[in-house]
Structures are given as C-alpha cells and as structure tokens.
C-alpha cells in the first residue's frame, strides 16, 4: 500500500532527513520519502502492517520534530 501523507509544520530540513532515515528502518516499510519542500511523506508498506507502521511513524516524527503534525 502506498500513501501520501501531509506533514504540517515540517520546519527543519535536517529533521526531515532524520525522520526519513528512521522510518525507512521500520519493519515492513518498503519505501519512504519525506519531502521537505512539498511538506509531504510518501509511505509504502506492507498492507497488513500499515496501521501499526503509521502509528510508529508518528511516534518517530514526534520524537525528532515535536512541532510537526502528521495528517494521516
């Protein structure tokens, strides 16, 4: 499954890179791109794990960039 997720208030380019790196290491994630300029994340992951992965991704984002809101 592939989903485009809006990232509100993603203000720091370095954080975007860090978030992308951490999420890409999650189990079941096949592909992830965090685009700082368009403030979007494209997440591709196994169908059956998708919801848990989104939850984990939110946690990671909260940890690295607390001001950011994942609009998923």
């Amino acid at each position: 499954m592939k989903k485009t997720i809006k990232l509100q208030d993603l203000d720091c380019a370095n954080c975007a890179a860090k978030i992308e790196h951490s999420i890409s290491k999650l189990d079941g994630v096949t592909n992830v791109k965090v685009n700082f300029i368009s403030q979007k994340m494209i997440l591709e992951a196994q169908d059956d794990q998708f919801d848990t992965i989104i939850a984990q991704a939110k946690k990671i984002a909260k940890k690295i960039e607390p001001d950011m809101v994942i609009m998923a």
Partner: protein
C-alpha cells in the same frame, strides 16, 4: 509572514531593543553585577525560551545531537563563563537567522507552488438547465462541460461546440496560442482565451493531463541525485563529529598546555553553534526542485533530480528520426511525368490509392487536393508490399514501388536518391513517379547546433528508414553519425554499442517519440520523449518528457541542468567552506560566537536565496532563432 513568524519577529524586536540598551551599559560597567545578570537573563528568556523548551523536550527523548539542545548549551555556557552579552546576542542572531530562513523557505515553497499552478479549481457543468460549478474530480467521462473565456480547461476532452485560442504556456512554455475548433482534442491545464467551448470529457480528473503532470513534478524530487545522497549521508555524521570535536577541544588542550579551561570551553561552544548542517540539507534539494520547476515552466518535465543531474553530463545524444527530427508527416516533394501532365499523373495516383489510408496514400491525395470521383474507379486490388492495381476509366493503373514494376515487367526510371518513390504505369507503359518525403522540423538544425555548443560530443541518428533518406536528413542536420535501415531490435543493439563509446561518467540520452521506442528508452541512461502533451505513452516511458514537438528543448533542459548543478556546487562549497574556516578560526580562538552564528544561519539564508536562482529559466527560453 505566518503567525508563527510574526510572533518570533515581535520577540526579536523586544529582545533587540533590550539588548541595544543593555549592551552600552555593560561596556561602561555602570550596573552592579546581579541586576545586570538578571536583565540579560530576561532578554535571553524572551528571545530563547522556545529553544530552551525544545532542548529540554528533545533531550528527554534522547536526541543528543538536536540543534536546539546544542544552541541552548552554547548560550547557557556563555552565561556561565560570565559572557552575558554574548549569550543573548548569539541567541538573538540565531533567531533572526531562523526567521529569515523560515521566510525564505516559505517564499520558495510559494513560488514553486505558483509555478505548478495549473490545477483547475472547478468545472462548469450543465445541471437542470443552469450552469453550476463543481469540483473537477466529480466530473465523469462523457459529461459535457462549459469553459468560458479566461477560464482554465479543467479536464481533457473533445470540443463539441465552439472555437477558441488556447494559451498552453503553463504546460509547454510556448507563448503562441493554439487555435482549436469543434472535433479537436483539448488538454486540461490550458487557458481558454477567446471563445466559449463546450467540451465532452474524455478522461477522469485523476487520469487527466494536468493531474499526471502535477504528480510527476511533485514526486520528481523523491528520485534523489547523487549530490543529495551525499549531503544526507554527510549530514548524518557532521553533527556528531563537530560535537565530539567540541568536547575534545574543551578538555584536551587545557590539560596539555595548562591554559585555563574557560578559554577552551568558550572555543568549544563556538563549535556547537556551527554544528547544524542545515544550509546544505535545505539548499541542495531546493536547488533541484527549483531546476525541475524551471524546466517544467519551459515545457520540459524531468521525472527526477537524478535525471536532471545526469543531463548535465550527457556526452552522446541519439535521435530517432521520424517524429523526432522530422515531422512524421509525408509530403509530395517531386512529380516526374514522362508524357502526360503532372496534374494528370497525380490524379491517377490519387484515384488508384483512394481506398488506402496509408500515410503515403494520404499525402498523394492531399497533393492532388480535389475530390475523387469514385464512379471512375473499378476493381482496386492491393498487392502486398508492392502497391496497388486499379482500373480507372478502363485503363489499368499500377502504382507502387520498384518491385511492382519489376513483377509486371515494366522498365522504370531507376531513381535512388532520398524519399519514398511511387512509380506509375498506365496499361503496361511507364508513366512517371511521385516522390514523397518527410519534412525536417524547423528547429531540428538549431537543436543540433545548440547541443554541439552545449558540449555534446556525438549526435547520432537511428532510423528504420532507407539509407538514402536517413543519410540525407543526417547531412542536412549536420549529425555526426546515422545508422539506417534498422529494425527495432537493431536499434537496441546499436545503442548498446554507442553506450561503450562514452566515458565512464558520461551519459547517453536517447530521444524518441515515446510510442514505439520503449525498449530503447528503457536501455539508455536518460530516455527523452518528444511531443508529450496529450500522449500518455510518452509520459510513462521516458525519464524526461518534452511537451512540445521541438527538439531544441533538449539543449534548453541541458542548460537548466548545468545551471542547477552549478548552483548546487556553489552552495556545497560555500557552506562547507565557511563552516570549515569558522571551525578552524574558532579552534584557534580567532572566531567568536558571532561569526559562528553567521556560519550557521547566515549561510543557510544565502544558500536558499542562491538555490532559488534555479527557478529562473527565462533566458533559456529565448533561443528560438531558427536557422534553416
């Protein structure tokens, strides 16, 4: 300016005023120590409270190399060393830089968004006799929509009624409007300029040209270039390394030299201020995004930063002939008649070919230019691979290639020069021939000249057409090489051979129409498809799509690519250079924290502004001086 930015601006102003009053008092040492500390602390908290908050929050989450945390340590460290003014000033300048950076980034985001502003907001649809505005996504295939003058065409479709001129500039970069009338296909994203159009929708919004282009451009920056990958990897190690260096700097030298810890701790704090790789991490992808945006403004879609980067290193450009360098529409270029008038010869040929829809037959009928009287034609038979035999007004007409003449034992004028030749015989007597040629596009010659000027080492043409035709076109365009009479499989093979001729870093680009050269497009470093506007096949198959039919756009996009890479290189060298110099000076005690703040945020802002230059491609679009 956003709400967040405005709030920050106020805090900067208040803290700035406090600082300008406190600083001279501090220099003259008029205030007693504790009131001075308290006043500076108040200014510090006003300007830096959010940084401190984030620092605490992030450190509890284990983010040691967080930029806020490092900034907090650096400034609190300054306070501990008794440098109150420096602590406040550094935080103040850091925030000013952050504000500028945030403003510059949102401004760049906006100008890129403006560029991509081809998304239609609504579609006019007839409902119960009145016109209503609906979301383009709600409109279905077969629905009738109305587009008034000045409105954007929301969905792809066919004109049922009306005629107008369309402004396609947002899609193709072409400033001359396109005239359209009933029965013609129109593409979403164009602006209807003059007349009211009634359009039958042929594609849903998600499948429409405009949606596809937007998706492509937005996702293009996800295919990362080598320089971006380098920067992301670099950034991962940069911060920890600088922080470790700072720790070593604070401890080792005083232990060895016996100097006071204060001096070295201060120098180490300078390091912490420069420890964020932000300038690089922002400006490199932003430059590529700008370059891709600029290219799309000129009517060229680049499907990834990696392709934009590769274009700059192109050494060999291989062209398909038909539809790429030539128009792909055939016109009669010569009529030779032995006895009868030329008009009569073309009439007989047009009558004989009347039933055929082959491009050659079509061009003969077009050259004849009059209606064909069917009653005069009897008994038309097609001879596969040779031509046709028809009875017209009782005369047996043979029209076809040399093989047709040979099998019917007719001696013909052997003519080996370029073009497709249709021979004609009447009642077994040779009558003459008609030569049909493809037209070279008006800007093909200029395209090759521009590519040569841009440093392309070899221009090659591959064609399935006859040797005579291929060689003639290649000579007219001044191409370096032409390989002719190739079957599709031969094209791939020939391309493989050419791939070996480039240097290790060099790239090979193949330019085709994207319709029947998918295997070749897939095999090259960069596949470029022409005439992408309205052709899904071309958009799918290629890495770079030229929306118009102009081969000269290849040189345009190569120039954009080179400019983008130049900006990227400038930013990398500038940011790393300034940071490196300030780190060295800081370690030696020559650079203060002020210089460090400049090396951090000042460099970011300059790099962002520089990156935005990639968007400006105006000068590359003014190269349409056709030389023919």
């Amino acid at each position: 300016m956003s709400k967040k930015e405005k709030k920050l601006l106020w805090r900067i102003l208040i803290a700035g005023v406090m600082f300008t009053i406190l600083f001279p008092l501090h220099l003259k040492e008029v205030l007693p120590e504790y009131p001075e500390l308290i006043l500076f602390l108040i200014a510090y908290l006003i300007i830096g409270i959010d940084i401190l908050e984030k620092a605490v929050r992030n450190i509890t989450r284990g983010q040691v190399f967080d930029e806020n945390f490092l900034m907090a340590i650096a400034t609190i460290g300054a306070f501990c060393l008794g440098e109150y003014a420096e602590g406040v000033a550094v935080m103040l300048f850091y925030q000013v830089g952050e504000l500028f950076q945030s403003y510059a980034v949102s401004k760049s985001r906006r100008s890129i968004a403006d560029l991509m502003d081809i998304r239609p907001d609504y579609a006019n649809i007839m409902r119960d006799g009145s016109l209503v505005q609906v979301d383009p996504e709600e409109v279905q295939i077969g629905n009738i929509i109305i587009v008034k003058p000045g409105e954007r065409i929301p969905l792809d479709g066919i004109i049922e009624e009306g005629s107008s001129s369309l402004d396609t500039a947002a899609l193709t970069g072409e400033s001359v409007p396109r005239e359209v009338g009933a029965g013609e296909n129109v593409i979403s994203g164009c602006i209807n300029q003059t007349g009211r159009l009634t359009i039958r929708v042929s594609k849903e919004f998600g499948e429409s040209t405009v949606a596809k282009i937007l998706e492509l451009v937005e996702n293009a920056s996800d295919k990362k270039s080598k320089s971006e990958n380098f920067i992301t990897r670099f950034a991962r190690y940069y911060t920890p390394l600088v922080v470790i260096a700072a720790a070593i700097l604070a401890i080792l030298p005083p232990l060895i030299t016996g100097q006071s810890f204060n001096i070295w701790i201060q120098r180490a704090l300078t390091f912490l201020v420069i420890s964020c790789p932000c300038a690089l991490v922002i400006s490199v992808p932003l430059s590529f995004f700008g370059g891709i945006g600029g290219a799309s403004k000129s009517g060229v879609l680049v499907k990834g930063s990696n392709y934009l980067e590769a274009l700059a290193n192109t050494e060999i450009v291989v062209f398909d002939k038909t539809g790429t360098l030539t128009k792909g529409n055939f016109v009669v270029s010569e009529i030779y008649s032995k006895q009868m008038s030329k008009q009569e010869l073309i009439r007989l040929a047009a009558y004989a070919e009347d039933y055929s829809s082959h491009p050659i037959a079509m061009s003969i009928k077009k050259a004849f230019g009059k209606n064909v009287d069917n009653s005069q034609i009897k008994d038309t038979t097609e001879v596969a691979g040779q031509g046709v035999r028809a009875v017209i007004n009782g005369k047996i007409i043979l029209a076809g290639n040399t093989r047709l003449m040979k099998t019917n034992h007719i001696s013909y004028d052997d003519n080996t020069s370029a073009g497709t030749v249709v021979h004609l015989a009447v009642d077994g007597e040779y009558a003459g021939y008609i030569r049909i040629e493809d037209e070279i596009k008006p800007d093909s010659r200029q395209a090759i000249l521009d590519l040569k000027a841009a440093g392309i080492k070899q221009t090659v043409m591959l064609t399935g057409d006859s040797d005579a035709v291929g060689k003639k076109v290649a000579a007219a365009l001044n191409l370096d090489k032409a390989y002719t009479e190739l079957l599709p499989a031969d094209k791939v093979e020939q391309l493989e051979k050419l791939m070996h001729q480039k240097s290790q870093k060099g790239m090979l680009a193949f330019v085709g129409d994207g319709i029947n050269d998918a295997p070749v497009l897939a095999r090259t470093d960069i596949g470029i498809a022409m005439g992408g506007l309205g052709s899904d096949a071309a958009i799918e198959a290629a890495d770079v799509v030229i929306m118009t039919d102009e081969p000269s756009k290849i040189a345009t996009v190569m120039k954009i690519s080179k400019k983008t890479l130049r900006i990227v290189r400038q930013n990398i060298i500038f940011a790393l250079g300034v940071k490196g110099i300030v780190l060295i000076l800081g370690a030696l005690g020559f650079a203060t924290m002020w210089a460090a703040v400049f090396a951090d945020v000042g460099v970011s802002v300059i790099a962002i502004i520089n990156a935005m230059r990639a968007l400006n491609v105006k000068k590359f679009n003014q190269i349409h001086g056709y030389v023919l």
